[in-house]
Amino acid sequence: MTRNITLSLIVIVLFLPFSPLLLWSVADGWYFPQLIPDQWTLANWSAILTASTKVGEGFLQSLVIAALSTGLALLVGLPAGRALGLLDFPGKGAIKILLLLPIMVSPLATLMGIQFILIRLGLSGTMLGVVLVHLLPTIPYMTLVLSSVYANFDTGYEAQARTLGASPIQVLWQVTLPLIAPGVVVGALFAFLISWNEFLLTFFVGSGRVFTLPMVLFTSLQGGNTGVTAAIAITSILPALIFLLFSSQALSDDSAIGGLGDV
């Protein structure tokens, strides 16, 4: 009973801020002092489905960019996280700080320089350029998450698998990755959402030619159409919600975290 009440309270607190968005997206005019709109419409939703608002295109571009930067961040984060989590080597502390720098330093301070280099490489205004620049915040998060995952990983499982006849590649696919999968999911979730929501880096490096969902949202916000903006905003939250549901399911599966000790 109390549990249900607590749960409902959490849901209300979490979703209350979004309720005006939801109302706006289906309201046909909503003026003071009305508590809720008195006329309803689905026009805003049908508007964002048309090509002219570029929502579909932005959604797709965001998806591709987020997926690519997550994949690349994993490619760097897995070995880097392993090194930081399991090995002791001189300069480890310095490398950790170096890794945190992109998060600590405002991108505004570095964007000019990055843009200069990307222009010379001909990558400014391209999707590849945007993916590369999205690695700036995603790699540190991914590496930090994976290094703490590896710090709790018992390499005895790998040694055991080797003596049972598994080659290093087989160990990676059959033992290590399945055992650290929950951590990989968390890291990938972080990276995906960071990339999905990234505005500033895309804005500069994309130079208006790479049009992700945050760009669409920003343009629409400037246009002043509250209803359409609300509908786009809700659309941009969707992946986060889907991912959260998916990952909470993956993470609550006890068998998956067996290799991670007391995490």
């Binding site: 018992d154 059959q174 068998s255 998956a256 067996g258």
Partner: protein, 360 residues
């Protein structure tokens, strides 16, 4: 049959940073033999096991198995299976998949994987457990699955690293019986690492005793008990009686003037030891040789034995374990009979004997 041993470790040396974990280890092991690597924790015995398994690389030395140099062979191709103390069942696989793991890695067909894994589970008395999850097993069951997983790949050598130390005493003896039985059925050569001398005695044909990274004595349990090569070895096997004596032509002169006769010829100043259970305590002097008049200073009943502490007039202290029926009062004057064949002596300055392996 050639003269070269089936499994041979030569000059094996490994150090971590500055500490020498294994130093110049030589071992020859026969096919089908059970050998224990025994020693206190931190003596390097697990390191030797990991070097054999190929998880660690030696700094120096060679490992030969069936005439093949293993040094550059990766662990997955060595045909040596390893069972660790923690069992380390893969938590993302069920019991059957765990046992079949090694077969799957070898690309054996799914049907054969299943048959062999199920048969192996049957052999460790866990038939019907194939679909259980490792987290649903008790410690003993998990160790049996780990054993099945190692044996199903039909290794040439089975390495066990303290496989029973996490189990309680009654379970441990059941597991010892099971391991011995499986070893007999499969005929696999077995090397077991343990810090428990009683386990080593039960489990092995020969014991390799290790201190500080060095092998001290390699011999049968009987020899290690009765004829240790030095005091450290004797103490590790529960030796408690040590006294120095002058040895000359089968005679030992104790400092107090008493004389003991041994059937072991040695000269000069020697350390003499006798196992506490080999001392006879007599109320009256019914024989004349090797008899010391003593006083009982302590009498402790342990249930299966009485542990007596005896003192000679020259303040030489002896411990004797006698049957519970032999009860003596504190302060009672009795006689300790030290049988000649139970007395064992070694020179007090005896250097570490790097005992070369003997054939069983």
């Amino acid at each position: 049959m050639s003269n070269t041993p089936y499994f041979s470790i030569q000059q094996l040396t490994k150090s971590f940073r500055k500490t020498l974990a294994a130093s110049d280890v030589w071992l020859d092991i026969q096919q089908g033999e059970r050998l224990s690597l025994l020693g206190p924790s931190g003596c390097g015995k697990s390191t030797v096991l990991k070097l054999i398994a190929g998880i660690l690389r030696p700094d120096r030395g060679e490992i030969f198995l069936a005439n093949r140099l293993l040094n550059r062979v990766p662990p997955e191709q060595r045909e040596i299976a390893l069972v660790l103390q923690k069992g380390l069942l893969f938590p993302h696989l069920n019991v059957g998949e765990n046992v079949a793991f090694g077969l799957k890695m070898r690309g054996i067909s799914r049907a054969e994987q299943e048959t062999r894994a199920l048969a192996m589970l049957e052999q460790v008395q866990l038939g019907g457990f194939a679909h259980r999850h490792p987290s649903e097993l008790s410690g003993g069951q998990a160790q049996r699955v780990a054993l099945a997983r190692a044996l199903v790949i039909q290794p040439k050598v089975l390495l066990l690293d303290e496989p029973l130390s996490a189990l309680d005493a009654s379970l441990r003896s059941d597991m010892q019986t099971l391991i011995l039985q499986l070893q007999k059925e499969t005929g696999v050569t077995m090397v077991i690492v343990t810090h428990d001398q009683s386990e080593a005695v039960v489990m092995s044909d020969r014991i390799a005793l290790m201190f500080d990274g060095c092998l001290r004595q390699v011999d049968t349990p009987e020899v290690l008990y009765q004829q240790p090569c030095d005091q450290t070895v004797a103490r590790f096997f529960g030796g408690v009686n040590f006294f120095s004596a002058e040895a000359q032509q089968h005679q030992l002169s104790l400092p107090g003037g008493d004389t003991l006769i041994t059937d072991y010829p040695q000269q000069g100043t020697v350390d003499v030891t006798i196992r506490p259970e080999r001392i006879h305590v007599l109320a009256e002097a019914i024989c004349s040789t090797n008899l010391l008049p003593v006083k009982v200073v302590q009498n402790r009943f342990t249930g299966t034995q009485r542990h007596l502490v005896l003192k000679t007039p020259d303040r030489l202290e002896l411990q004797a374990w006698v049957p519970p029926s032999q009860d003596f009062a504190i302060g009672q004057s009795v006689f300790a009979h030290l049988p000649a064949d139970a007395l064992w002596s070694f020179s007090p300055d005896s250097q570490l004997v790097s005992t070369l392996p003997q054939t069983v």
